[in-house]
């Protein structure tokens, strides 16, 4: 075990606090604390539920937000205690801290790890994912079935000894329907209930999502969501590519806000490498990220309003999106799948008229937002459809691991840009919009205000945007040297060759970096073994926990409420299924 710091070594204050608390708990002696990029607790599987309960309930810990659970296969990684480990990331809203728990699974036939669904309801789908992709068994899990791979799939694809490229044929009869959906529920003196499928291919799902719902008349009494129809094995693919080559793949996660995914990903790699991006590059990223966030919210609100019958707003909001796409295309040459960021900076410098283009957008966007507000906010039909439907209380939102506009609409002001300011967010003057009701209308209001705040951030960023200067780091072990140098200078050519053929050499280790994506906390957990590409790369997709909660939120409402709620969850299938 190389990564755990021995007892004598000095820990960071955060890790020291965690160690003190664990030392005072009944789990003392059974958990180790290591000081990596985050305080990391190592524990065996049997003690994991007790630790989870302690971390959530102990007032000194208060890790109430379950962020992520993923497996890691150490088969080709030297110096690890066990072959498999489950890595959990938690956040404390009260103390604004992340912590990592590494559950070491002893090598055995069955990799057992008790479920923590009762402590953190958010872990439900994350555990199913680990069951699916790694074959971890979670005794006590209420619904342990495959989630991302289909039901006729054999094997666990993210294990290192699973050969990629195998194909498993999926026929219609292989589709698993929930047990409860198979018979109708007939009670004496009561009408019969019906089970219907909404999706997989349904215009209101905006992607391929399958909702099985049991209806009592128009009311949903039970529901289950089935996803994975857009699973493209992003994480397995990432293991086969160099660090930079993963960037086009990240564009296809949340394809509505491609730029944000790229920024989140390269920030993780840059943190591993310790590369500093020049101010101009970081500001360009910030500006384009905020424009992308506006685009993301435009699509969410626009599509949501179309679902409830208001088409005009969609057109007005999409006009913003088109104009922002023009800006992105002028910067990088593509509208949707931008692939603009690179580890250490950007693919190329922004165009000469970048600031002028941005300012033109700043002038045009508010008009469209105003029009939408006029048409929608005090519209009686919209109010009737959105107010009081799809309610998520503050406690539920935290328990279900929600982040982003979902959590903020339920009254929790957690925004990564504020909680852990990266780039220059701490220098700008902007507000975190929250709402109290937690219903669909509150989420609409929060998103609308967030667009205005993004405009405010962009305006301030443009004021300090340097007129010239580098956008890329000049570390040629990370960034491709300028082309003129490559053509004429042997040393540059060698760097160019090494980078292209071997990739960036990130030091062995692991890193979790997170940013505020369009839907909430977008985290990338990267493990490097020192070669040119990721050993393991896990995305913490912000809409994954939102979608996991969907089957609980819709119960008690009508089918049409479910459609309106699906819209405000802003589920993007590319990010959900990866």
């Amino acid at each position: 075990m190389t990564l755990v710091v021995d007892a004598g070594a000095a820990l960071s204050p955060a890790a020291e606090r965690v160690r003190e608390r664990i030392g005072a708990s009944p789990l003392a002696g059974r958990a180790e604390v290591a000081d990596l990029d985050l305080p990391t607790i190592e524990i065996g599987p049997t003690d994991w539920p007790a630790l989870a309960r302690f971390l959530r309930d102990d007032p000194g810990c208060g890790y109430d937000l379950f962020l992520d659970l993923c497996g890691v296969d150490n088969l080709r990684r030297a110096g690890r205690k066990t072959r498999f480990e489950a890595v959990v990331h938690l956040h404390s809203l009260t103390r604004n801290e992340h912590v990592r728990v590494r559950v070491l699974l002893p090598d055995a036939e069955k990799l057992r790890l008790p479920t923590v669904c009762d402590v953190y309801p958010a872990s439900n789908w994350f555990e199913r994912e680990a069951y699916d992709l790694f074959g971890f068994d979670f005794p006590g899990h209420p619904n342990l079935h495959r989630l991302l791979c289909h039901d006729a799939f054999v094997g666990h694809p993210l294990r290192k000894d699973y050969a990629p490229g195998q194909r498993w044929f999926f026929a219609e009869e292989d589709l698993r329907m929930p047990e409860w959906s198979k018979d109708t529920d007939e009670r004496a003196g009561h009408f019969e209930t019906q089970t219907i499928s909404i999706g997989p291919s349904h215009p209101a799902t905006h992607g391929i999502i399958h909702l099985v719902a049991r209806l009592d008349g128009e009311k949903i009494v039970r529901a289950e969501t089935m996803i994975g129809y857009l699973h493209r094995c992003f994480e397995k693919m990432a293991e086969k590519h160099h660090w930079n080559q993963v960037i086009p793949y990240t564009d296809r996660l949340n394809y509505v806000s491609a730029m944000l995914n790229g920024v989140g990903y390269v920030r993780t790699v840059e943190a591993m490498l310790g590369v500093e991006v020049p101010e101009r590059g970081r500001l360009a990223r910030t500006i384009l990220s905020e424009f992308t966030r506006i685009m993301d919210h435009c699509v969410c609100i626009g599509a949501n309003l179309v679902d409830i019958g208001a088409l005009t707003n969609f057109i007005y909001l999409y006009q913003n999106r088109e104009n922002i796409y023009d800006l992105l295309e002028a910067c990088c040459g593509a509208r949707l799948t931008v692939s603009y960021v690179r580890v250490g900076g950007l693919a190329i410098d922004v165009p000469d008229d970048f600031v002028a283009r941005c300012r033109a957008l700043l002038d045009s966007i508010p008009g469209f937002l105003e029009d939408v507000e006029k048409l929608v906010t005090n519209n009686r039909i919209v109010r009737n459809r959105l107010s009081g439907t799809g309610i998520v209380t503050k406690e539920q939102a935290i328990a279900w691991g929600m982040t982003g506009p979902m959590l903020r609409a339920s009254g929790v002001p957690y925004d990564v840009r504020r909680a852990r300011p990266y780039d220059f967010y701490d220098r700008f003057d902007w507000d975190v919009p929250i709402a109290q009701d937690g219903d669909n209308f509150a989420r609409y209001l929060v998103r609308l205000e967030e667009m205005r705040q993004s405009l405010k951030i962009i305006r301030q960023a443009l004021d300090v945007f340097p007129a010239s200067g580098p956008v890329n780091s000049d570390d040629w072990r990370v960034v491709l040297p300028p082309k003129d140098a490559v053509y004429h200078d042997m040393e540059s050519l060698i760097y160019h060759f090494k980078l292209t053929m071997e990739g960036i050499r990130a030091p062995a280790g692991e890193r979790y970096e997170w940013i505020e994506g369009g839907n909430g906390e977008l985290g990338f957990y990267a493990v490097s073994d020192g070669r040119g590409g990721p050993y393991r790369l896990k995305v913490r997709p912000p809409c994954f926990p939102n979608m996991a909660a969907f089957e609980h939120i819709v119960v008690g409402g009508t089918v049409s409420d479910a459609i309106a709620t699906l819209g405000t969850l802003n589920v993007i299938a590319g990010e959900l299924d990866r």
Partner: protein, 231 residues
């Protein structure tokens, strides 16, 4: 940094009597949409929609469309079959087979250079990876095909043609100095090894250029030349 704002306090919980009465609100909504209509009617040329294919969107000089293989002055491809773009491609859509050219000036050249346009994700990594300025992208986004075989573009469809560049224009490329068309220097335009006399004879057509279908040519020629050089 600043604070937190509660947006639910901004809008009234209950609608006013007038707002509940559909009709005034409908008229207000119509006012918004009719204003857009009037503005658009007055400015038909500024409409955001484009009547494709009669009208085309004007893309930037960085647009990532169909690739082209740049040629030297004598028509020989600049590509030296170094496999860098094939290695850099995240979609693994480039296939190169290198051949040894009989003329020492060219040394290595691509016998096969295929791009599978169905796999390509148009990320531009091949352009970034090329050390010889040999692959650029154009603004050509019109690549419809009827079969998978048709989607694999070989050298004859990738080689830069005047017609294509005139119709669509250059897109993503490694450098943009000035007007974006002048390379930093002509270092990569001509083989460095070629002496003046040989260059002239090439231009005059005295040395026939290799035919792609004829294969790589006799393999011993360059090594013999090298032997002669070391002796």
């Amino acid at each position: 940094m600043s604070g937190v704002i509660d947006v639910s306090r901004r809008v009234p919980d209950r609608l006013t009597f007038l707002q509940k009465l559909y009709l005034p609100e409908i008229l207000r909504g119509m006012w918004v949409t009719l204003r857009h209509l009037a503005r658009n009617l007055a400015n038909m040329k500024g409409l955001p929609t484009i009547l494709y294919p009669e009208a085309r969107r004007n893309y930037s000089k960085r647009f990532r469309g169909k690739h082209i293989l740049k040629a030297r002055e004598d028509g020989m491809l600049k590509c030296v079959a170094c496999y860098m773009c094939q290695q850099a491609c995240p979609a693994e859509c480039i296939t190169i087979v290198a051949g040894e050219h009989p003329k020492i000036a060219y040394e290595k050249y691509p016998v096969v250079f295929d791009i599978d346009m169905m796999r390509c994700v148009f990320c531009g990594f091949c352009v970034d990876a090329c050390p010889k300025d040999a692959i650029w992208m154009t603004r050509n986004y019109e690549m419809a095909f009827f079969s998978r075989e048709d989607a694999v573009f070989s050298i004859d469809r990738l080689r830069e043609t005047k017609a294509e560049v005139e119709k669509y224009g250059y897109g993503y490329r490694p450098y943009y100095p000035g007007d974006g068309t002048t390379p930093p220097s002509d270092a990569s335009m001509l083989p460095v090894l070629a002496g003046g006399g040989e260059r002239d004879r090439l231009r005059a057509g005295a040395i026939p250029l290799p035919d792609r279908d004829a294969g790589p040519g006799p393999l011993n020629a360059p090594s013999q030349a090298r032997k002669a050089f070391s002796a």
